[in-house]
């Protein structure tokens, strides 16, 4: 009751991109380090354990980059033609890659030696993966087949040839070593179980050539991309379509999970990477790249984002560390530091100290609640003292006037309410009058402030109508008049358009009414009858009573 209530500043929400937790998080990526390769980057795979080496397959080689130094750690060039889909085993020791001649080659990262060659595909192999048990390899080939290989014996265990077009996408389950998924240019995504050699267990139609597939870590949902669409399928429900998201305007090429599986990232030929929330499939942020994105890699800690592009560029972006942030913006970090300093939160009860009795921690220690330092702005201070002219002066400083016009309008509003506008505006010299006039001219067109600004302008005209003005202020008054005239003209145009629209709408509604048919109400839904078993059960219960 006794406290002064602050002046209400009415600020309308800004239209445009909202600053959310996600935008802040993804904005913290540093300027990218780019490396140029000799051909489009086909595939990027990230080692799942530290030091998160990145395997990049492009043209006829597979390179393993160190994500910190951006240097090539290893490179494998024993391919006659293009190498595709190099993938690192979960222990980080082996790398596997497919190639144009239809072989799948296994290398040791440590010694760079070629350990195995899996021969048997008749077309190029674009994707190959280690299964979860680390001793099998799945390969997805352009000969429309998917094959499972045994690593030690270098033999083919099973081969599925169900697709009718190139198989360019595939992934393995992270839980079971027997489950893997393939996506093909024949628009289908198929789930295979190595224990049932007869064929695929689930087959769904994506609607366009499938570019990439991904299975969630829980293994209950898988995602496929292709065309401009992302589709989410329920695996447990036998391939029910859960969601269709179309946020890219060109083909989506790659798919990755980020932020511990809470975000999904897709890259596309439209040079964007979109980050989705995996619950709602709403886009929370967009990353931009200079060229069509073909492949994406994100380290498990979200520290590095690697994108491979069609023109052979690899862009590697690091997350800003705290030290870097501090170096960039020393002022802000100081503020944060100050805040984090803890004050004394506990104090002893005075009663306890004065009287000699035993200490009871439950009642004698008071937890100090955080006291809000009641910040009173300068204009409120003057309003509180009924110094209206000074209050108006403080909000007519160039910074507030230009950057935060809502504050100026709020104070003017309060002055109108207090009936103090006249005294605040009267008796001003040239310079202060000009600041008011420029403010009015600039904001009189703003519909959210217009009613108050018009009120202020009227009062101002009333006061200075008869007084002699300097040429400078006279010019400003004329400028204000010009603004008003322009606004009037503009509103006139708008009303004309509104009138036209009304005619159009009226004609359509009359037509609609003529041709309208009343919706016949459906027959009342029959009450559900209990089944025979349920009925039997019900009578049983009855008998017990």
């Amino acid at each position: 009751m006794a406290s002064f209530k602050k002046t209400q500043i009415r600020s309308l929400p800004k239209i445009g991109q909202k600053v959310t937790a996600d935008t802040l998080y993804w904005r913290k990526l540093n300027f990218p380090v780019t490396v140029k390769e000799f051909g489009p980057i086909d595939y990027i795979d990230v080692m799942p354990i530290e030091p998160y080496f990145i395997a990049v397959s492009s043209a006829a080689k597979v390179q393993i980059y160190n994500p910190i130094t951006h240097q090539v750690h290893r490179h494998f060039t024993r391919f006659k033609e293009a190498a595709y889909g190099a993938s690192i085993r979960s222990d980080g020791k082996l790398v596997i890659a497919g190639c144009d001649e239809g072989h799948v080659k296994l290398f040791d990262i440590g010694s760079k030696s070629l350990l195995r060659i899996f021969k048997g595909h008749k077309g190029p192999v674009h994707r190959c993966k280690f299964t979860t048990d680390n001793v099998h390899v799945v390969s997805f080939s352009d000969d429309k087949s998917v094959a499972l290989w045994d690593l030690p014996s270098e033999t083919e265990i099973i081969k599925f040839s169900e697709h009718s077009d190139y198989v360019r996408a595939g992934c393995v389950s992270s839980i079971s070593s027997d489950l893997f998924l393939s996506g093909s240019f024949d628009h289908t995504v198929k789930l295979y179980d190595a224990r049932s050699p007869t064929g695929s267990t689930i087959s769904v139609d994506h609607g366009s050539p499938v570019e990439s597939v991904l299975m969630y870590p829980s293994n209950s949902i898988f995602v496929s991309v292709g065309g401009t669409e992302l589709r989410v399928w329920d695996m447990l429900a036998g391939g029910r379509l859960l969601a269709r998201v179309s946020q890219h305007h060109k083909t989506i090429t790659c798919l990755h999970l980020a932020s511990d599986g809470k975000r999904l990232v897709t890259g596309g030929l439209d040079r964007h990477a979109k980050i989705y929330d995996v619950q709602s499939y709403q886009v929370v942020h967009t990353l931009d790249f200079p060229s069509p994105v073909l492949s994406l890699g994100i380290t498990p800690d979200d520290f590095t984002v690697v994108a491979g592009m069609a023109n052979g560029l690899i862009s590697m972006q690091h997350r800003q560390t705290q030290a870097e942030a501090r170096a960039l913006n020393p002022k802000q970090s100081l503020k944060v530091q100050k805040k984090s300093q803890t004050a004394y939160r506990f104090r002893l009860n005075a009663d306890f100290r004065s009287v000699n009795r035993t200490f009871n921690p439950a009642t004698d220690v008071e937890v100090a609640t955080k006291t809000d330092t009641n910040f009173v702005s300068r204009y409120d201070m003057f309003l509180r003292k009924f110094q209206y002219s000074k209050a108006l002066d403080t909000v007519l400083t160039p910074y507030i006037r230009k950057k935060k016009p809502a504050i100026t309008v709020g104070v003017m509003h309060e002055l109108i309410r207090r009936n103090g506008l006249k005294s605040a505006l009267a008796g001003r010299d040239d310079s202060s009058l000009s600041s008011i006039l420029t403010f009015l001219a600039r904001n009189i067109n703003d519909p959210s402030h217009a009613n108050i600004i018009i009120q202020v302008a009227n009062t101002l005209l009333e006061i200075y109508e008869s007084s002699s003005l300097t040429p400078q202020s006279e010019k400003l008054f004329l400028q204000l008049q010009e603004h008003v005239n322009r606004e009037v003209e503009y509103v006139k145009h708008l009303m004309e358009i509104e009138g036209m629209l009304h005619i159009l709408l009226a004609s359509t509604t009359t037509q609609a009414r003529r041709s309208s048919t009343y919706v016949v109400q459906g027959s009342p839904v029959k009450p559900m009858l209990p089944s025979a078993a349920a009925a039997a059960n019900a009578t049983m219960i009855f008998n017990v009573g």
């Binding site: 006794a2 209530k5 009415r10 709403q282 509003h413 109108i416 309410r417 207090r418 009936n419 009613n451």
Partner: protein, 830 residues
């Protein structure tokens, strides 16, 4: 009304008999506590406050009521402390009562005898058995004469034609010779009388009218406040004809009250600026306590100087401690100050209580206006204020000397059917500037915090004054709630709750869904049918019926018989759901919504209908006329069930049916579940109720023990502990269960755990018989006899025939019950 009266005489006699014991009562507890200045007891532990006919004794420490003294039959006009714990009070008829403050008992009653005068204005007690009373002046109205009454001499007239406010009389002792000095104010002068020495003085200043006066307790110093805000301190005013004066001028508005501290070092003053000023006498230093919420009426200082009590016009008494901070308050029901500048253009209701009475289904309280920009929730069952809510959240602005400055006022309130949402419309308007602000605010009740949270604030919901707000009833929480507003900008708008949730937050807000108009006519009234499926908006004389979900115009209703603009409109409730009752300036009529015809019309009313309120618990409706006649009727017919003749000269403002917590045992149907509350233009609450139903009389009977006035020693601390525990057992909660059939058996069934219950077939009959209405004992025995005779061939006891032979006595009792229960069944089967 001629018709109505005729019909009443022709009506059945039964209703006449019933209505004879329906009375109109005044709700006394709702009266204000700031009409008279409060009085501190000598030990400064209690404060005595007069409110209407009652006197409340409150503890200063806790601001809780300790005693309620109710013996006076007229309004109390003055309080005084006679001895250490004797309170002297006087009412307007001149009856004085002495009370024991510690236990609230009456000690002595005596009438004041002053020259046959029956009416008194104010009462003061200077001590030594002498009493000062002000009586109406014989010649000039609104003025008083002051008399001194002594026990052994005849009453003596001291002054004639003095101001009649309690603050225009002061008395003190001349310490020099122990004489009694009395001062009183006239418009432009101060009259002084030294009673013992017989000195008379009259001091005049200039043309500024005096407003209040106070005397120093020890020295001969007088302080007067005047209409310009100036305070004058007069020195030695008894003997000198031109006394020395000191001017203290800070206030811009009239000074309402001045008060010396008991030591005489300080002077407190207050007025409509809502600031209490503490002057140090003889120095230029002053302290302020600003923003006290409402203008100060009286300032009273405690004898021990520890605190000061201020009475405010918002019906609150606040205690200010020695550090100049408000630390406690006694808050009563707030009277809304009529909105200035409204009275000439709008009906009186719009300025006195624009929100009317709005029932809150959640707390069973009533929302209505408090001070400007505030809303209060009043509990009619307990006659107490639940809370006072700041709707505008603006600094309350005070007038300047020549300038009226308005504050934001709450004009309309609506509560959603579940009580979860509260919609308020606040308006600030300045007639001279031609500028107005309007805010429609939606508040959501937060059950955890137990307060309302602002959800949406809409600026300028309509371009002109909003006439009515109404939530759609009948929604069961499955649909988004919906609010309809109509305004003088010829539009009606439908506001809906919109889900604005995204992955980061849960958010709902209100937004305008539809804005519509009808033939460019002004909408004047709005009503929803009870189930919320039909919305009726009156446009002048035409009623339009809309489907609230699709906003399709279903029908328009108009008739040549009824061509006046509709002012009030309500749908019937319960089995009268199909009737829509409309009131215009001189007629009351009902439409049948289903057959779309005019059902009845009562024309040529004595005066226009002020309120039309449906009873939520029955099908009846009450029409309150401007001349304070009340008619209760069923919307299906024009015959009133009950009518209340003119009550008094006051004009009703708003009315509401308030549900009762427990239904009446007997009475007319419309009174069983609810009673009718009416507010008049003085903001007094009147209640149309059955004579038998007593109000919620909660007597505070705990006596203050003499230990309270003991010093704080370890022994007294032990004693005091007991006292506190005794005070706690105050409100006994008694559920009325005796009248409910079979309450005990239901209770036992519910309390026994399911696993421990005997088989349902065993207890079913017993349970059912408990629920049945018992016949007289004779009838039962007769039936039992007959059963006994025929029991052998009764097929009812199918499973029990075998056991019958073994345990016959138990069986017969069971049989009795069984046959008792199932007779109705046997009959129906046959």
């Amino acid at each position: 009304m001629v018709k109505m009266a005729n019909k009443k005489t022709r009506g059945p006699d039964k209703t006449q008999a019933n209505t004879s014991d329906i009375v109109v009562k005044k709700l006394d507890d709702a009266t204000d506590i700031v009409r008279q200045p409060p009085v501190f007891t000598n030990d400064s532990k209690y404060i005595c406050i007069a409110s209407g006919r009652q006197i409340g004794i409150y503890s200063v420490e806790s601001a809780e009521k300790v005693h309620s003294l109710e013996e006076h039959t007229f309004d109390v006009i003055g309080l005084a402390i006679k001895d250490d714990n004797i309170l002297l009070s006087c009412d307007a008829s001149g009856e004085t009562i002495e009370w024991n403050i510690n236990n609230g008992t009456t000690l002595k009653k005596a009438p004041l005898v002053v020259a046959g005068i029956k009416e008194f204005h104010s009462f003061h007690y200077p001590g030594n058995g002498k009493v000062l009373v002000a009586t109406p002046s014989t010649y000039t109205t609104n003025m008083s004469s002051l008399w001194i009454v002594d026990s052994h001499t005849r009453p003596r007239k001291l002054f004639a034609d003095i101001k009649s406010t309690p603050h225009s009389i002061a008395f003190g002792c001349n310490q020099g010779n122990g004489s009694l000095v009395v001062v009183a104010l006239q418009d432009h002068s101060v009259v002084v009388k030294d009673i013992t020495n017989g000195v008379d003085k009259k001091h005049m200043t200039d043309q500024r009218k005096f407003t209040c006066v106070a005397l120093h307790s020890e020295k001969l110093i007088m302080a007067t406040g005047d209409i310009s805000g100036r305070i004058l301190i007069w020195h030695d005013f008894v003997h000198k004809s031109r006394p020395v004066k000191t001017v203290y001028h800070w206030h811009t508005l009239p000074v309402n009250s001045v008060c010396f501290s008991s030591e005489g070092e300080y002077l407190y003053s207050g007025g409509s600026e809502k600031v209490m000023v503490k002057w140090r006498l003889g120095m230029s230093r002053k302290q302020f306590l600003p923003r006290m919420g409402s203008s100060i009426k009286y300032i009273v200082n405690a004898p021990d100087n520890i605190c000061v009590a201020t009475s405010h016009s918002d019906n609150a008494i606040r205690f200010i401690d020695s550090t100049n901070k408000i630390n406690r308050a006694i808050i009563g029901l707030v009277k809304h100050d009529p909105i200035r500048g409204f009275a000439d253009t709008e009906p009186i209701k719009e300025s006195v209580m624009p929100t009317g009475l709005v029932f809150d289904p959640r707390s069973h309280g009533i929302f209505f206006n408090a001070q400007a920009g505030f809303l209060q929730l009043f509990d009619p069952q307990k006659n107490s204020l639940i809370f006072n809510m700041d709707v505008a959240n603006r600094n309350v602005l005070t007038d300047e000397r020549n300038l009226v400055i308005g504050n934001a006022e709450v004009l309309r309130v609506a509560v959603s059917p579940t009580g979860e949402w509260l919609a308020t419309l606040e308006v600030w308007s300045n007639m001279s500037a031609g500028y107005h602000d309007m805010n429609l605010k939606f508040w959501r009740y937060d059950a955890v915090q137990a307060n309302y949270e602002l959800n949406t604030d809409v600026t300028m919901p309509h371009q002109d004054r909003v006439t009515a707000l109404c939530f759609q009833p009948g929604l069961l929480g499955t649909e988004m709630p919906c609010l309809v507003s109509i305004g003088r900008d010829l539009k009606f708008k439908i506001w809906r709750l919109v889900d604005d949730t995204d992955i980061y937050r849960q958010k709902e807000s209100w937004s305008c869904d539809v804005a519509g108009d009808f033939r460019k006519l002004t909408p004047s009234a709005l009503s929803f049918s009870e189930d919320g499926s039909l919305m009726a908006i009156a446009f002048q004389d035409t009623v339009t019926l809309w489907d609230p979900t699709s906003i399709n115009l279903n029908t328009t209703l108009s008739h040549t018989l009824v061509q006046e603009p509709i002012e009030l409109m309500e749908f019937g409730r319960d089995n009268c759901f199909r009737y829509l009752v409309c009131a215009s300036k001189s007629a009351l009529y009902a439409w049948d919504v289903i057959s779309q015809g005019l059902v009845w019309k009562v024309g040529q009313l004595h005066s226009s209908v002020r309120c039309l309120v449906p009873d939520p618990k029955s099908c009846y409706m009450a029409a309150v006329l401007q001349n304070s006649e009340v008619f209760v009727f069923s919307p299906s017919s024009s015959k009133p069930v009950h009518s209340v003749p003119k009550m008094n000269s006051s004009e009703p403002i708003a009315a509401l049916f308030v549900p009762r917590p427990n239904p009446l045992a007997s009475g007319p149907e419309w009174l069983i579940n609810s009673r009718l509350l009416i507010v008049d233009d003085q903001q007094e609450f009147l209640c149309v109720d059955d004579v038998s139903s007593a109000g919620f009389n909660q007597k505070l009977t705990t006596p203050i023990s003499h230990m309270d006035s003991l010093p704080w020693t370890p022994f007294s601390a032990m004693k005091a502990e007991k006292q506190i525990s005794a005070a706690k057992q105050l409100v006994p909660v008694v559920h009325q269960t005796s009248g409910i059939q079979g309450y005990k058996s239901v209770q036992s069934l519910l309390e026994t755990s399911a696993s421990a219950l005997p088989p349902m077939s065993r207890i079913c009959s017993l349970f059912m018989s408990d629920l049945m209405i018992k016949h007289g004992p004779k009838a039962v025995t007769a039936k039992v006899n007959s059963v006994d005779r025929t029991s052998t061939d009764l097929p009812l006891s199918n499973g029990h025939i075998d056991s019958k032979t073994q345990d016959f006595s138990e069986e017969t009792t069971l049989q009795k019950l069984l046959t008792l229960d199932c007779q109705w069944l046997v009959e129906t089967v046959k």
